[in-house]
């Protein structure tokens, strides 16, 4: 069973710091504990989602600007 990083909060998931900037992380990128993998916007406040495990990103499970629930997997690590 692959490890996953889940959203700590319900809200809107963003893969980049702002619309004109590149993604925090892409598929195939290495992730260390504490790396920011995205943002979740809750009631107009942006919260960083930090990796709680290390690994390599196999695939994103949530798209940019997708509505996510607390505990919903955002990405698979390989």
């Amino acid at each position: 069973m692959a490890e996953q990083i889940v959203s700590p909060l319900p809200g809107t998931f963003y893969r980049k710091p702002s619309p004109d900037e590149p993604n925090f992380k892409d598929e195939g990128d290495a992730v260390a504990v504490g790396d920011v993998i995205g943002l979740v916007e809750v009631m107009k406040t942006f919260n960083e989602v930090k990796a709680d495990k290390a690994g390599t990103i196999a695939s994103f499970l949530a798209d940019n600007e997708e509505a996510v629930m607390a505990g919903q997997p955002l990405l698979d690590l390989s």
């Binding site: 809750v42 009631m43 509505a67």
Partner: protein, 453 residues
């Protein structure tokens, strides 16, 4: 009434408020809602509901095509935009009219004219309404700057033309400081924005925020007196009152008359609010901008005048003339509104959604609670944190503050953190009692008086 069926193109407490007003006028209602709001109170109260898209507002509440399609599909012949979202979007108002529907609000031309800062300022000046004194055009030389400052009066703000949101602002109290700061500001603006041009505005220290409610029918206009909203955190209003205890009758007449003058001069239609800075020290007021929509804090004006502003704006949109003359509108007592947000005042106002486990609303006649809540409702995380507005009325300000303190103690919202403790602290504060506040008051006060968890 030309409006038979009204589509509500908004959400939350204002959607509930609009539906109530429409019901009182025997107008059928259609609630346009996102997927995340399918179980909202507004959807339950409206005669019909139409899903207009995904939770994210950009894909639902802000989508002009989806909102217009919902109106067509449901047979609504009018659209109320509420506040925020599409309410001050002239292109939306135009699209509504082009679709042969009624927009509850001003004409698209009025929205775009008053929505543009420079054009609104020019309209105010044409109507004889005082604006914040400033330089005419760009300051070319230090002598230009000195001359402008002498005319405007110190202290002055030196602003970068290309700046915004408070960036690139310097404050000069004297001519000596000005000389130093102008050259500094110019080189900083050049490197930060690639444009060194500067302009100047008078700085009003410790200003109050006072705003005047107007109603217009396209020809005539009246005011419903003023509100004071000086209690702000990060430019967001927190606690609002009507009337303002800072104005005497002569000042009140002057500021309210200026608002009507501007509304008449632009042929204003609907409900609108003119915002002013008020300087206690000089007794002067300065127009800042006009909001061409209903505002969050409209209930305090309703409580002191007995006028239902949302019903009136719907009647006007339906083609009616103003139903009251200025001399028929009087102030009765004092009203206060506290914005109850889903935020934790003991933790830097961190917003947090949740499920409402228990809701108890005080029932006294002088208390009103405009809300989107019901027991068992789960607040979605996709929108702002406003849960409701607690409003009280009293014969005078001191009684109103006392009644607000009692109402806050009686309001129980279990299941998430709210800003009720902040308001309880404010209702006990001697500065609030004395109305010794201004727009920069609350944040330092919070530093000195943290709200316990």
């Amino acid at each position: 009434m030309a409006i038979k069926k009204l589509l509500v193109a908004n959400r939350g407490e204002i959607a509930v408020r609009i539906i109530r007003a429409a019901q009182a006028l025997n107008i059928r209602t259609v609630q346009a809602h996102s997927m995340a709001d399918a179980d909202s109170l507004a959807v339950q109260m409206a005669d019909e509901a139409v899903n207009i898209g995904p939770p994210h507002a950009a894909k639902s509440y802000l989508k002009v095509d989806a909102v217009l399609q919902a109106a067509r599909d449901s047979g609504a012949n009018a659209i109320h935009p509420g506040y925020g979202f599409l309410s001050e979007n002239a292109a939306f108002a135009q699209a509504v009219e082009d679709a042969g529907l009624i927009f509850v609000g001003p004409t698209p031309d009025t929205i775009s004219r008053l929505g543009d800062k420079a054009a609104a300022r020019a309209a105010a000046e044409d109507a004889g309404v005082p604006t914040v004194p400033g330089s005419v055009g760009v300051l070319e030389t230090i002598d230009d700057a000195r001359e402008a400052a002498e005319r405007i009066g110190y202290p002055v703000m030196i602003k970068a033309s290309a700046g915004g949101g408070g960036r690139g602002i310097k404050i000069a109290d004297t001519a000596d400081e000005l000389a130093k700061l102008v050259s500094q500001a110019r080189s900083e603006a050049q490197s930060a924005f690639g444009d060194g041009s500067l302009y100047m505005e008078k700085l009003v220290r410790n200003a109050r925020h006072i705003e005047v409610q107007v109603l217009g029918d396209g020809t005539d206009a009246v005011h419903c007196f003023e509100r004071e909203c000086s209690m702000q955190r990060r430019r967001q209003k927190v606690w609002e009152e009507a009337p303002s205890a800072a104005l005497d009758d002569a000042k009140r007449q002057a500021i309210c008359k200026s608002a009507v003058d501007l509304a008449r001069s632009v042929g204003y239609r609907g409900a609108g609010t003119l915002e002013y800075l008020f300087d206690d020290a000089s007794g002067k007021f300065y127009f800042i901008e006009m909001n061409t929509r209903i505002q969050v804090e409209h209930p305090v004006s309703e409580m002191i005048t007995g006028i239902d502003l949302v019903q009136e704006m719907i009647r006007i949109a339906g083609g009616e003339k103003l139903r009251m003359k200025q001399d028929e509108i009087a102030i009765n007592g004092h009203a206060i509104e506290c914005r109850i947000n889903a935020e934790d005042p003991s933790n830097n106002f961190m917003p947090g959604p949740g499920t409402i486990e228990r809701l108890v609303v005080p029932t006294a006649d002088h208390v009103r609670f405009d809300t989107l809540l019901y027991e068992g409702y789960t607040i979605p995380p996709f929108y702002d944190s406003l849960l409701g507005k607690l409003i009280v009325h009293g014969p005078d300000r001191a009684t109103a503050i006392k009644r607000m303190a009692e109402a806050l103690d009686g309001l129980k919202i279990d299941g998430l953190k709210t800003t009720i403790p902040l308001h309880q602290a404010l209702a006990q504060s001697s500065d609030v009692m004395k109305n010794a506040i201004h727009t920069q008051y609350l944040e330092p006060w919070l530093e000195a008086n943290p709200i316990p968890s």
